[in-house]
Assembly symmetry: C2
């Protein structure tokens, strides 16, 4: 299987008008006027060609609860709406169908890879394999019974078996301890020991009150709890980081942790704005995440990237903060090492963005266009791991109407209007 | 000319599934199962039917400069990029073509009306009449020579002649003194005297430094300058209001001024976030504005409304602040008195939003969907003043490709890439 993308304006490593030749799942060649024969030819004239984005923090099955209860205080939302609904409606079938919907929504805005934390993650893996999307799946670990694990030990052993069953070119398995407020220090230590060689994905410093609660309970900050458990020594991804102090940021730097910026969810749940500009100035790798569709309420990565840049300018009173090219780099930073760049030898995770929208008229700088003007409607074609998933805005081998129908039918039972 | 919109889920005044019967430019009847014969029938089953939004602050012709120079400090942007480009490229033809592009972009996201401030506003009026969009046009008045007026007196008399020529059902003419930092107190007084019976549209408290400069120059704050000139006694719309103190807000309340929230531009230019939640709690009418496409960089009102709600929650640490229904009310607040509501006797300014997108799956609350999830791709049909302008995502009687082509050709001379 080979694909030739002709005459697109490429962004990133090698900027300019090039052809890209894809063989199997890899970018084989980037050059002008490539003559190789290909099974598929994509005319990308007057289009941008970009690496797909990586949505590094979501709970994709929660699309069932999208907009179920908005404009409520976090605790009211969780205790009176989300937790009771999860107890009643989260099961294998729900996770399979609802995460599938989210994957389609993500691909629609040029997202080729996502990092997920929820329950029944084997269903997320199955859906991702079926659709052809790259996923980092992690069974959410908490100190209570979850819909599919009785306790922490069971969730740990489930993570190992997920790895045995699914780890591949397109699926990675992460350890996903939920947070320092839903796990004891003993449990966190257990997870730290078990997670050698794994990616670790967790929530930290999401709100001021989380930090205050932690100080009360442990006499230390969440980052110190993670450090003392041994988790900062892992390849760890820290989602949110809103209430991070300079000490926290120093610790992120010292341990070379990864930070996932989740701006819209943090705004919507009134948590605040993470000090991302400061974190980046400390040389810490920053990724973008949408959070789950219950707290966003969409998975449009272009929207997320836009807001992530705009709010940093405002809170730093600096128009130059997190500029358009930096925003692009944050969006294409990938949890998969060989993804996120248009580079020979890298995975063929590529999106074509057509430039015929009003918002694309005119374009002086393609990074500015993507960061500040583009709409996911402009995403035309998405290739993941060498396979064309979306072509001219249509999914090639997925019945998207059926997926929507199934989710809507399920949501009607929870009282959805549409 | 009559239109019947069948079986849509109506939002606002009368919520639920209704038919809407439109005769000439008015909503004649809202009821279940309307039997009237109509020239056009729109099937709105499984769609939302909403009043069109009003973009109350823009400089629509500036689409030519969209993304011309981003991520720069405000003064660098203005002095080294925008002002020199304006001096060279702003003329009648440019304003006509580039404002037309902006109108199409606005209609695409269900905007039926806009309030504009720029130069050669007669061209904006002509374009609006041609497209069928409602516009409040205002020749920008400053103390210097502009591309079409030699001085303040000329701009004042031009405003009167615009009113004589264009004022109608769909075009209003406003007095548009630019700001307290581009006009002397004498000029502002002259404009206050001349503007009896007019809408007045101005920028105020956009940045901290504007206020500091004003304090230095006048020993009073911009709002006090406007008050002392007599402008607050007019039907005045104050754009931005970021650096507003409690005293300023009291003055807005006392004089019943209107406030236009312009959140994305304020973020992007690092001006900050207007205290909109506090302003609304004081009973002051708030409208939404995108600002011009050179400082946004798109005119998508759904994006603007989303950000306007989200940032208020975050800066107030209150998840309930500016909730979804309030956001809808801000978006539909119209400068035209008989627009912005689905109500018998009101102007037929109506949009149909289809609910078949991923982001619309599922919907528990249609206001939440619009505020937190919807994409302008979901806007299917837009009716302005009783005429169908957009139908099933297509403009009926406008050659949008030609408009884009013309703007692109013009932008190439400024160095545009696409």
């Amino acid at each position: 299987m080979s694909i030739l993308i002709k005459n697109g304006y490429c962004l990133g490593e090698q900027e300019g008008i090039y052809d890209i030749f894809i063989e199997k799942n890899k970018i084989k060649k980037i050059d002008t006027n490539i003559k190789e024969q290909a099974d598929d030819i994509i005319d990308a004239k007057e289009c941008l060609v970009i690496p797909t984005f990586c949505n590094a923090h979501t709970h994709s099955a929660m699309s069932l609860f999208r907009g179920l209860a908005d404009d409520l205080s976090l605790m009211d939302w969780l205790n009176n709406h989300i937790f009771p609904s999860e107890a009643k409606y989260v099961n294998k079938k729900m996770v399979y169908i609802c995460s599938k919907l989210s994957m389609l929504e993500m691909i629609r805005s040029a997202t080729g890879c996502f990092m997920d934390m929820y329950f029944f993650e084997e269903e997320v893996a199955k859906a991702a394999l079926e659709i052809g999307m790259k996923g980092v799946i992690g069974e959410g670990i908490i100190d209570f019974k979850t819909p599919d694990c009785a306790n922490v030990d069971e969730a740990i052993s489930k993570t190992f078996s997920l790895k045995r069953e699914f780890e591949s070119d397109t699926i990675k398995v992460a350890f996903s301890p939920h947070s320092t407020y839903t796990l004891t220090e003993d449990s966190l230590k257990k997870i730290a020991e078990a997670s050698e060689g794994f990616i670790v994905h967790t929530h930290v410093n999401e709100t001021k009150s989380e930090v205050e609660l932690c100080m009360e309970k442990h006499k230390k900050r969440p980052m110190e709890v993670l450090r003392d458990a041994g988790l900062l020594e892992r390849d760890i991804y820290l989602a949110h980081c809103v209430a991070s102090t300079d000490d926290d940021i120093n610790m992120m730097k010292q341990y070379k942790t990864n930070v996932i910026n989740v701006p819209q969810s943090n705004l919507k749940l009134a948590s605040g704005i993470a000090p991302i500009y400061k974190i980046m100035k400390n040389g810490i790798d920053v990724f973008i995440g949408t959070d789950g569709p219950a707290s966003n309420n969409n998975l449009d990565i272009l929207e997320e990237l836009r807001v992530s840049s705009l709010v940093q300018k405002a809170i730093n009173y600096d128009e130059t903060a997190v500029d358009a090219k930096t925003t692009f780099q944050i969006g294409t930073n990938s949890v998969f090492e060989t993804s996120g760049k248009l580079k020979e030898g890298f995975d063929a995770d590529i999106a074509v963005v057509k430039l015929d929208g009003f918002e694309a008229t005119p374009i002086f700088n393609p990074y500015s266009y993507l960061a500040y003007a583009a709409n996911s409607r402009d995403v035309s074609t998405v290739i993941i791991n060498g396979k064309i998933i979306l072509k001219n805005g249509e999914f090639l081998s997925i019945d998207e109407e059926k997926v929507k129908f199934d989710v809507k039918a399920m949501a009607k039972k929870l009282g959805a209007m549409f």
